[in-house]
């Protein structure tokens, strides 16, 4: 994506801005659907963490793979997904990316290399590492990025696959989105020692980066993706970020585990979209007006997609037994 389209930095910058806005807008609409009882089940908002997904995914091509998490809308949008199919999936409609079978927590977009969100915390660490093994074995040069949260570092699976990735020099990048919390618990209470050092102990080069700064993230990602493609992987990145909403849309009263002040500081001082927009304006790359047009267009897009999805049909009942098993090739 990024690589193919890059002509000037301006284009890249505006695209990153747009992609971040698209994520935020998608989430605002999803939250609204929940609040108005139009969405089945719960969902986890990515708002606040946009620079992470966008900074990394803009360094990837469509052939590169990602695995995502329960908080997966951001990764999905950043990897190139379309609003309509995403909203249809969130509403369980037949035109959704997974024909309504996956929903928010299992949204996947095969066409852009998104191997899917996962409702098992840490559950996709093996999958991402396996995708990297597959690429290497089949002689392709794609890279796999494994997104996961700080909470997921408590899953033993991570250490198992980092060991193998390091032993076999696999083109995989572990992207730890450290947003300070796993559910209702602060990271310090569930993670001893140092997350970066854990990766380093397996001989994996590890970096920490400000996850609210899309350019810093993208810069690092570009370098590591290129090196991973070149056989220098695996790598580990810890991205310091913050989730604006509760753990899920229903987590409204959060005082018992984090303060309003803390939320306010992140939202007002460290917002990745606002800050990047201000920088774009300051550098004369885009005027405040141009940025507003981008935001308005995206808002209109999202609203149209929501309306479309609300009207779209559910899959017919007969599909319930479809896709349990894939068909086999005729002999």
């Amino acid at each position: 994506m990024a690589a193919a389209r890059r002509k000037t930095n301006t284009e890249d910058y505006l695209r990153m801005y747009s992609q971040m806005v698209r994520i935020r807008t998608f989430e605002d609409n999803a939250n609204q659907l929940y609040l108005s009882a139009k969405m089945p089940g719960l969902t986890h908002m990515y708002s606040g963490e946009e620079a992470v997904a966008v900074g990394i995914c803009e360094a990837l091509t469509d052939d590169d793979k990602i695995t995502s998490t329960h908080r997966g809308h951001g990764h999905c949008v950043a990897k190139g997904a379309d609003f309509r199919q995403m909203f249809c999936e969130l509403l369980g409609k037949a035109e959704g990316y997974c024909r309504g079978k996956g929903g928010s927590m299992h949204i996947a977009d095969q066409s852009h290399g998104n191997l899917g969100a996962n409702a098992i915390v840490g559950g996709s660490m093996g999958i991402a590492t396996g995708a990297a093994l597959s690429a290497k074995r089949l002689g392709r040069n794609d890279v796999a990025v494994c997104f996961f949260g700080d909470g997921a570092t408590a899953q033993g699976l991570m250490y198992e696959v980092m060991n193998m990735a390091a032993l076999w020099k696999l083109p995989v990048i572990y992207a730890c989105e450290n947003n300070g919390y796993s559910e209702y618990t602060a990271t310090a209470e569930i993670a001893a020692g140092s997350i970066l050092k854990r990766a380093e102990a397996f001989g994996i080069e590890a970096h920490q980066v400000d996850g609210q700064d899309v350019l810093a993230v993208n810069d690092l990602a570009q370098k590591l993706v290129a090196r991973a493609r070149n056989g220098e992987g695996p790598f580990f990145i810890e991205l310091l970020t913050y989730r604006y909403h509760g753990h899920h849309v229903g987590d409204i009263n959060r005082d018992y585990y984090r303060t309003k002040e803390e939320e306010t500081i992140w939202k007002e001082k460290r917002d990745p979209i606002v800050n990047f927009g201000a920088w774009l304006a300051k550098e004369g790359i885009a005027s405040e007006e141009e940025l507003k047009t981008i935001r308005d267009d995206i808002r209109a897009d999202a609203e149209a997609a929501v309306a479309y999805a609300l009207d779209a049909p559910y899959p017919p009942g007969s599909e319930v037994t479809m896709h349990v098993f894939a068909d086999n090739d005729a002999a």
């Binding site: 089945p40 309504g100 929903g103 559910e183 319930v320």
Partner: protein, 331 residues
């Protein structure tokens, strides 16, 4: 009698037992201040402190293993597993360790622990948060399995589980946490291996577990309007299983339906149906009808999900057919 929610009933059971025995402690994700996502354990950390109500990292195999070690050395841990689907993560510690230690040590070591978790679909939570996996646990010798179907049972079975000297797995029905039922103020225990006849009847025996008990009672209600008298039996524990109560009923009604929310194939319905067929064969007018969940991963879309689980209509219809003798043709 006062009515309380299932949630409150579980909370009371644990609190009462913790007051009685200082060797009991709780271990799990967000069990302390958050009181679990379902708020079942709210207030316990305030009473018993963080030394006995312990928030863990997202390390299910790890804390399950620790519970086994603690149980072997004088503690009586209660493990909280947030979703029944995560039982796949702890199978080794549960089935290779906890279940076998007493036997492998020739009776020297004991593993008195309770694993509390849940089951049940139709919450729009998709394939990794909707499974009913109690059949897997029941297949492994050394584990007891309790399936409460009301606040009353939840409290009485939990207290019995906590006092049991063996590993006990309790599956609660997620949809039932807010359902109220009469629960005595006075202490009571429900012994394992004693089924409850929740409704007496002459024409057909419906053996139903957990979430399917209410479904079957509703079906029985509908059937009564048609002049069909259904007996509804809740085994309450499937290991140990109270065969006698079930057989006695079937010998009386000559017809049996077994309803359970686990997948039908290789599941609980097969075992119970087999025992009925083996031991009441000549009393049966028609083959035992099994009604489990469909053999498909649980789909997200409401349009599909609701098709996968037995409903009151479905159970009533099956009962009508067996009473009318219509199920003979197939066999």
């Amino acid at each position: 009698m006062r009515e309380i929610t299932l949630s409150k009933a579980v909370n009371e059971a644990i609190a009462e037992e913790m007051r009685r025995d200082p060797a009991i402690f709780l271990l799990g994700e967000d069990v302390a201040e958050a009181g679990t996502p379902f708020k079942v354990l709210s207030g316990l950390v305030e009473e018993f402190g963080p030394e006995r109500v312990i928030d863990t990292p997202i390390s299910e195999p790890g804390f399950m293993g620790m519970a086994v070690g603690a149980a072997m050395t004088g503690s009586r841990p209660i493990v909280d597993l947030m979703f029944g689907d995560f039982i796949f993560l702890i199978m080794d510690q549960l089935c290779n360790q906890a279940a076998k230690t007493h036997y492998m040590s020739g009776g020297k070591l004991k593993v008195p622990l309770v694993l509390r978790t849940n089951l049940g679909a139709t919450r729009r939570s998709a394939a990794q948060h909707s499974q009913s996996l109690h059949a897997l646990v029941a297949h492994i010798p050394g584990l007891k399995v309790a399936l409460p179907s009301s606040a009353y049972e939840a409290k009485g079975l939990m207290k019995t589980a906590i006092r049991d000297n063996n590993p006990v797995v309790i599956f609660e029905d997620k949809l039932m946490y807010n359902d109220k039922a009469p629960v005595p103020e006075e202490e009571y225990l429900i012994p394992f291996g004693e089924a409850a006849v929740l409704r007496e009847g002459r024409d057909v025996t419906i053996v139903a577990t957990s979430s399917m008990v209410q479904v079957s009672l509703k079906a029985a209600e509908m059937l009564a309007a048609d002049g069909i008298s259904a007996e509804v039996i809740d085994p309450r524990t499937i290991v140990p299983l109270d065969e006698e109560t079930i057989l006695e009923s079937v010998r009386k009604t000559s017809r049996a339906i077994v309803v359970d929310e686990g997948h039908q194939s290789f599941g609980v319905t097969a075992e119970i149906a087999s025992r009925i067929s083996e031991k009441a064969f000549y009393h049966l007018d028609a083959p035992v009808i099994r009604m489990g969940a469909m053999d498909v991963p649980v789909p997200f879309s409401p349009a599909l999900e609701d098709l996968t689980v037995p409903t009151p209509d479905g159970v009533a219809e099956a009962a009508r057919r067996i009473v009318r003798g219509e199920t003979r043709d197939a066999a």
